[in-house]
């Protein structure tokens, strides 16, 4: 069978895109601004998965695609590929984050205290129908007399001081030498830097599904949240001529530590922890990802296998592969069909042949 070039459908393609955009209505700066101002968590999710912090562009991507999130992430990734890399910021340290929310489910009394910050965790999940009747709903926080300290140590650091975790050697890799999945292939066995970067840019839904599979019982880990944190992080850069370090602004980040069963040995019991962080405020993703980080230290179910987890939670590759099946596969499908017809035809011919042989035998008898 030969491959056949096909042509046609140009006008239909043009009008299909026009129809998509027409049904969305007019794309305007005002619409983009409204999305940017009113949907920060959606913007954070898209920025985290696209792995680029650019709220204005994320809002534009959401407006332009009508909220089709995989398309939005793809638009941002495509834009990212047009931009040069100009510098490496100083590594973010947990102690330096301006933390607005930090809670622990493992310890009641933690250094710095439990700060709930902005959350819907304890809210009644009830639609505010009065808004649809034209009422306006606003909320006002009763501020404390004084501002709280904005920096909190990592729970892991506190546990390390208490001898519950082994001491670690701080990684001294210069930022430009840190392994980077955007510049080199993801290879297995995976380095920890690649694993954490892949989880940081992973698909929220995919990471949640695999993390949930682990939590629900397919994994051996029963998770407790050591800490979950939402914060602002300073992007610290270096002045090219004076060498002075300065902040170019703040970005929203979230991180999570998961703690589980006692490890080590009976004489020296230790805790085991998993970690994850991402751009933007996205708690569910970091909790599930820190669960996967810890699970991938083990082996068993596919959701504990780095290759399975990291390949299948890459949002652009996963969604792209899925939707590519919509594109014409006429030749390959026809080829399968031909093969199927051949088999069926051969079977039919053999059946006819068998029946004829039986008839002949009967006639001879």
């Amino acid at each position: 069978m030969a491959y056949v070039a096909a042509r046609g459908g140009e006008q239909a393609i043009l009008e299909a895109e026009n129809l998509y955009r027409e049904l969305l209505g007019t794309l305007s700066l005002e619409r983009v601004k409204i999305i940017e101002e009113t949907m920060p968590y959606l913007i954070d999710r898209v920025m985290g998965e696209a792995s680029i912090y650019a709220p204005e562009l994320a809002a534009l991507a959401i407006a332009q695609t009508g909220g089709e999130l995989y398309e939005s992430v793809l638009l941002l990734r495509a834009y990212r590929s047009t931009q040069p890399r100009l510098a490496y910021a100083a590594p973010l340290e947990q102690d330096d984050l301006k933390t607005v929310r930090r809670v622990s489910a493992a310890f009641k009394d933690i250094p710095g205290g439990q700060v709930l910050g902005p959350t819907l965790d304890y809210s009644h999940r009830v639609l505010r129908m009065e808004v649809l009747r034209g009422e306006t709903v606003t909320h006002q926080t009763k501020a404390a007399p004084q501002a709280s300290p904005s920096s909190f140590p990592a729970l892991a650091a506190w546990q390390r001081q208490a001898g519950l975790l082994p001491e670690i050697q701080a990684d001294q890799t210069v930022p430009s030498e840190i392994p980077d999945v955007t510049r080199e292939p993801l290879l297995f066995p995976v380095s920890r830097a690649h694993k954490l970067q892949s989880l940081a840019r992973g698909d929220t839904g995919g990471i949640l599904a695999l993390g949930y599979a682990n939590m629900r019982g397919y994994g051996a880990v029963h998770p407790t949240i050591n800490e979950v944190r939402l914060a602002y992080a300073e992007v610290l850069l270096t002045h090219p001529s004076t060498g002075v370090q300065f902040s170019a602004g703040q970005v929203r980040v979230s991180s999570s530590e998961i703690v589980t069963n006692f490890a080590g040995n009976p004489q020296d019991p230790r805790l085991e922890l998993g970690f994850s962080a991402t751009l933007g405020w996205n708690e569910v993703k970091t909790i599930a990802a820190s669960m996967l980080d810890l699970s991938m230290e083990r082996s068993g179910h596919p959701s504990q296998t780095p290759e399975f987890v990291l390949y299948h939670t890459e949002p652009v590759e996963a969604s792209g592969f899925c939707i590519h099946f919509k594109l014409p596969h006429y030749v390959t499908f026809q080829s399968s069909l031909e093969a199927m017809r051949d088999v069926k035809g051969k079977g039919h011919r053999e059946k006819v042949k068998e029946e004829s042989a039986v008839a002949l035998e009967e006639a001879m008898l």
Partner: protein
């Protein structure tokens, strides 16, 4: 605000502090101040804009469990470099506002050259005060969500 001699003012902010305040101040105000100080800078010596572009900054993060450094993602920034004699004014701001980056670079140059310092320091003081106020307001509200737990 009363007059403060420029020598004293010069010591009020470090370059690091000045840049941090400028990058986070309202873009329109920073641009307006740069416009205001531009004639003074131009009187001093010729200015050359050697860079004004958008690009990406890689943001590393330290894992708290094993201490590993990894890339959290990239940040879109606008960058500007302005040269005058042997000084390099530098501006890098989040987003893609090239004018804002250029304004910060010009003000950084003014800061280093000691040009228009009194006006610049007044601006920095006001902007810092505003930024501190916003920070304190937010973290006073955050403190209201601190759990006062009792054990029974």
């Amino acid at each position: 605000m009363g007059y403060i001699p420029s020598k004293v003012m010069q010591e009020t902010f470090s370059q690091s502090q000045a840049l941090a305040i400028l990058t986070q101040a309202a873009a329109q105000e920073v641009k307006a101040l740069a416009e205001e100080l531009l004639p003074l800078l131009e009187q001093h010596a010729p200015l050359e804009v050697t860079q004004n572009r958008t690009g990406l900054v890689m943001l590393p993060y330290r894992d708290t469990v094993h201490g590993t450094l990894f890339h959290l993602g990239e940040v879109l920034i606008a960058e500007a470099q302005v040269r005058q004699n042997n000084l390099l004014g530098y501006g890098m701001v989040l987003g893609r506002d090239l004018e804002q980056a250029l304004a910060v670079a010009l003000l950084d140059l003014a800061f280093q050259a000691g040009i228009g310092l009194e006006r610049l320091n007044r601006f920095l003081e006001a902007a810092q005060s505003e930024q501190t106020h916003v920070h304190n307001q937010l973290f006073a509200k955050v403190d209201a969500t601190r759990v006062q737990m009792e054990t029974f």
